[in-house]
């Protein structure tokens, strides 16, 4: 149908398309095919799953952003909505930006109340085509998805051969399925060609932004990091969005860790009865000298807290991955947030603090997982990796994963049988002989008569003997604090970008807020506002983080939680005046956008009447 539209969107390689599907209808693989095709065309693509906590029959969405500048955060706004779910159609159509397109199944006429004059409607008779082509009801449902991908190829100019070659790869080993899928693509493609002016005003075109990058989700990268990092034991309890971490670990272990001769597994994965048991197993295995880990999300962190206190106090390496979701309680279990920062930093009763690492990309998920095993064993303490649903469950463009053959696992201070044999003095588990707060441990079963000790959560002396002597307790707690100081030189350093060349304005960010923050900094630069950035990658904070704050008179922090939790940590640990750090907080369950950050910074600069000119040319006005 034709309507006069006031505004139209014209773009090449800059679009957001949102698919509105029904859970459990096979749409996920068709939508992945769509995103992968754009990736193969050399474009920067960032797909996001937006799914409710249901398994079958209810609405689910998939949003894909394409652009030419390598931006991977959410953009906001929808240029094309593919509406194949009648349940959510009214809302889905409303969301489309003026001048955009609504692609829908017009087998049944559209409810006239849903019509808008400021968007263009592209009707595809998906149900009718499937009724005509296929007999099997399941095929009628599945191929509907493939048909709309074929139609989109014509509508926005996707290379058809890229799609067909992807189908070939997807069904390798099941060649019978290739022809019907290609046929379904072609049905959609031909229908669109024959009924619309193709391409539309919104198109894509081949680029070379891909390089050697890969398209992988963070949870898979973590699973691989655990395989390469030498984990042999995983205890876990299913919880969205962390479940696929262990699934990936198991998948690659089955492929890479089964002894060819005996058929035996060089790993043990135990699905626990709850998160308490999951972390208990990890602690038991680590205590006994294996590299072990678990993965969970916020509610699991709450349940694991008692054990984390034990591991901290008894000094047992413990690797824990927290794929954060929206809390508190069950919150929005299938939406993203960075809201477990404080819960993890100080998890447990008594004086505890834990080493945290914050990956921002799949490559960092891989690297930091492997590194977490080193850190946990070097520091003999829990190491918690905080990622989130956005990074964990969405395919993300990433630098390829790398492993340095020269790298050796850092197993920390562990006495061997030979070292124990040669020892003339009595072994003391908690003696700080190196002055770095890190004592020496022994694995059970090492030496027949030397090196045994009793691991306990109760206070003990340097020989691990139970004591309630206050002075011994204080000495031990102070040593743990010394170890905390040592940790600062072990953990990943922040990534600091001073491209603002000495700007007064600095932005702190961490984890998945990176993509949107860096994009916002680009937009601000276009407005003439130079901004430096510092990406925090670990807790305890390295000196460089404190220095970055000191060097900038106006400091923002971007977080995806309500309470500015990282800011609280900075204020608490670095003794910073809270007024020095302005929080920019997004916590609606959707990944933060660059526009949101840009607007927040702009409005703050307006309020403070900050003249965003460089330090060497003006006086400092930010702190008024």
């Amino acid at each position: 149908m034709t309507m006069t539209m006031k505004k139209t969107i014209h773009s090449k390689n800059d679009l957001v398309i949102k698919f509105a599907n029904v859970n459990g209808t096979g749409s996920a693989s068709a939508n992945n095919l769509f995103a992968k095709a754009l990736f193969r065309m050399g474009l920067s693509v960032s797909p996001k799953n937006i799914f409710p906590s249901n398994i079958q029959g209810l609405p689910t969405w998939y949003e894909v952003r394409v652009n030419d500048k390598g931006y991977l955060g959410r953009r906001g706004g929808i240029d094309i909505a593919v509406c194949v779910n009648p349940q959510s159609m009214a809302k889905d159509i409303k969301e489309v930006s003026p001048g955009g397109y609504v692609v829908y199944d017009n087998t049944k006429p559209l409810d006239l109340r849903l019509m808008r004059s400021d968007v263009e409607f592209i009707g595809l008779p998906l149900t009718q085509i499937c009724l005509d082509e296929y007999q099997d009801p399941r095929q009628r449902q599945l191929f509907k998805n493939v048909i709309y991908v074929g139609a989109l190829a014509a509508l926005i100019n996707i290379d058809f051969e890229v799609l067909t070659s992807l189908i070939g790869e997807q069904f390798k080993g099941k060649e019978k399925l290739i022809a019907p899928n290609v046929h379904a693509l072609d049905l959609g493609y031909q229908y669109a060609k024959n009924h619309f002016t193709c391409p539309l005003r919104i198109t894509v075109e081949r680029r070379d932004n891909r390089g050697d990058k890969i398209l992988i989700d963070g949870n898979t990268a973590i699973g691989l990091g655990a395989v390469f990092g030498g984990a042999t034991m995983a205890g876990w309890y299913p919880i969205t969005p962390s479940t696929s971490v262990i699934e990936a670990f198991e998948k690659y272990c089955k492929r890479l860790r089964v002894d060819a001769g005996s058929g035996k597994k060089n790993y043990a994965i135990v699905q626990a009865e709850d998160e308490l048991a999951a972390i208990g197993m990890v602690i038991g295995a680590s205590w006994n000298g294996a590299r072990a880990f678990t993965a969970t999300s916020g509610p699991g962190i709450s349940l694991m807290s008692e054990f984390l206190g034990l591991a901290y106090f008894a000094e047992i390496p413990t690797v824990l991955v927290d794929v954060q979701r929206t809390g508190p309680s069950t919150g929005m279990p299938t939406r993203t947030q960075q809201s477990d920062v404080i819960a993890c930093a100080y998890a447990s009763h008594g004086d505890t603090k834990h080493v945290l690492v914050f990956p921002a990309t799949p490559k960092e998920c891989f690297d930091m997982t492997a590194q977490a095993f080193d850190l946990a064993e070097q520091l003999q303490t829990p190491v918690i990796m905080l990622t989130d649903l956005d990074l964990g469950m969405n395919d993300t463009m990433s630098e390829p994963l790398e492993w340095d053959e020269a790298r050796a696992y850092e197993r920390g201070k562990v006495y061997s049988a030979e070292q124990l044999e040669a020892m003339s003095e009595k072994f003391g588990r908690y003696i700080d002989s190196d002055g770095d707060g890190i004592p020496y441990r022994t694995y059970p079963g090492t030496h027949p008569t030397k090196g045994a000790f009793f691991t306990r959560g109760t206070s003990r002396d340097e020989y691990a003997i139970y004591t309630e002597d206050g002075a011994e307790y204080v000495r031990n707690m102070k040593r743990l604090l010394k170890k905390w100081e040592t940790a600062k030189s072990y953990v990943p350093a922040p990534v600091i970008d001073n491209s603002g060349k000495g700007s007064d304005i600095g932005v702190l960010h961490y984890g998945t807020s990176m993509a949107a923050t860096l994009e916002a900094i680009d937009y601000l630069a276009q407005e003439g506002i130079a901004v430096d950035s510092c990406r925090i990658r670990a807790f305890p904070f390295c000196k460089a983080v404190e220095e970055f704050i000191e060097q900038h008179s106006t400091v923002f922090i971007v977080e995806q939680n309500r309470d500015a939790q990282m800011r609280s940590l900075l204020v608490n640990e670095c003794e910073i005046n809270p007024k020095r750090i302005v929080p920019i907080l997004n916590f609606d369950g959707m990944p933060v956008t660059a526009k949101f950050i840009q607007q927040a910074i702009n409005s703050r600069l307006d309020i403070n009447k900050v003249t965003p000119i460089r330090k060497n040319t003006t006086s400092n006005k930010a702190e008024q």
């Binding site: 050697d212 060089n266 038991g284 205590w287 294996a290 059970p444 045994a452 959560g457």
Partner: protein
């Protein structure tokens, strides 16, 4: 309780096959109340391990929290020990066992630690047939917090405070049988002659070996009216029979009356010999054990001894197919797939 440990030992103490004296299997001095049943159990563990000639460093002893969970400090001083979190010993032992299947795992818990806070972990360790000996030192009350009733306290049983317990007890041996435990026994801390061979058999068993040991709390639950006190238990005991654990290398010397004995040969060739006092018991049948326990209970008697034992038990490692070697002994070369493989993994994401 004593607070001085005598350092004098007879110079010609007997040694076991490995050349260790029983003293070398002892631990620190107990801090429990004088006369506590738990100390007798610690003594029985010490004696059993000494007689089995297991090198102390090849044993790991783990516990939860409570009076019972303190005891691993009081036996096997040359073994690594782990006093973990209340009710969570089973998960820590699961992890420890996963990391190194070549060691012997002794888990010590109490009735509070197992039947209340740790019920979930206990049940799942049983289900997985974790290769360990799990001893509950069962006194029917919370000792460390001064005598509250526990979940194994019999209905109507009176603790020191004099109030009868109004709730149904959890019978851990029955629960273990129902959950599929492959070795279940019950004993009494005051009956070392029965307990020591049971411990030996439990340690030799390949899988989850559960021993519920009634162990009176002399301070809070040894009064008239208590069903977990020394006097009451002694008066109401009934044993399934006499157990003998015979290591593989030894010849069976004891002679038993025909028709009343059962032999179970273990994976390593050693033999558990049960001389039965009640012919109705068939140790290979968990149904028989459950029925007999009910029968004795109805008569007001506590049935002790070996109740059930599965000869062809498969432990967790066998079920999940993990390496015969200790996982912790695998080298970086065996674990890390290397750069070339990572390259092909990268390709699969392009």
């Amino acid at each position: 309780m004593s607070y001085i440990k005598p350092s004098f030992r007879h110079p010609e103490l007997p040694v076991n096959e490995l050349g260790f004296t029983q003293q070398q299997y002892e631990g620190s001095l107990s801090t429990l109340c004088a006369g506590c049943g738990h100390d007798s159990i610690s003594g029985a563990i010490t004696k059993a391990i000494f007689e089995l000639s297991i090198a102390p460093h090849n044993i790991a002893k783990l516990s939860g929290i409570g009076c019972s969970s303190k005891t691993p400090t009081y036996f096997l001083g040359s073994s690594h020990g782990f006093n973990s979190v209340h009710g969570r010993m089973p998960s820590v032992t699961t992890g420890a066992n996963a990391a190194n299947r070549e060691m012997v795992y002794i888990g010590v818990s109490g009735d509070g630690d197992t039947a209340s806070i740790g019920m979930g972990q206990f049940a799942h360790a049983v289900r997985r047939n974790l290769n360990m000996m799990y001893i509950v030192m069962n006194n029917g009350c919370y000792g460390l917090t001064k005598g509250q009733d526990s979940a194994t306290s019999d209905i109507g049983s009176k603790s020191k405070k004099g109030e009868p317990n109004p709730f149904e007890p959890i019978d851990l041996a029955s629960v273990a049988l129902q959950l599929g435990a492959t070795f279940v026994a019950r004993s009494f801390s005051g009956d070392k002659a029965q307990l020591v061979p049971l411990i030996k058999a439990a340690i030799a068993h390949q899988g989850f070996a559960f021993i519920d040991v009634i162990s009176p709390c002399v301070t809070f639950n040894n009064n008239p009216g208590s069903t977990k006190g020394y006097e009451f238990v002694r008066e109401h005991l009934a044993a399934t029979g006499t157990v003998d654990y015979v290591p593989m290398k030894q010849e069976i010397k004891t002679e038993y009356a025909p028709g009343s004995s059962t032999e179970v040969t273990l994976h390593d060739g050693s033999v558990v010999h049960l001389h039965k006092t009640d012919d109705k018991l068939d140790v290979s049948s968990r149904r028989s054990a459950l029925a007999l326990m009910q029968e004795y209970k109805a008569e007001g008697k506590i049935l002790t001894g070996l109740l059930h034992m599965e000869q062809n038990s498969r432990d967790l490692h066998e079920t999940i197919g993990s390496s015969n070697k200790a996982l912790r002994s695998l080298s970086e070369n065996e674990l890390c797939p290397g750069t070339a493989i990572l390259g092909s993994i990268n390709d699969s994401f392009r």
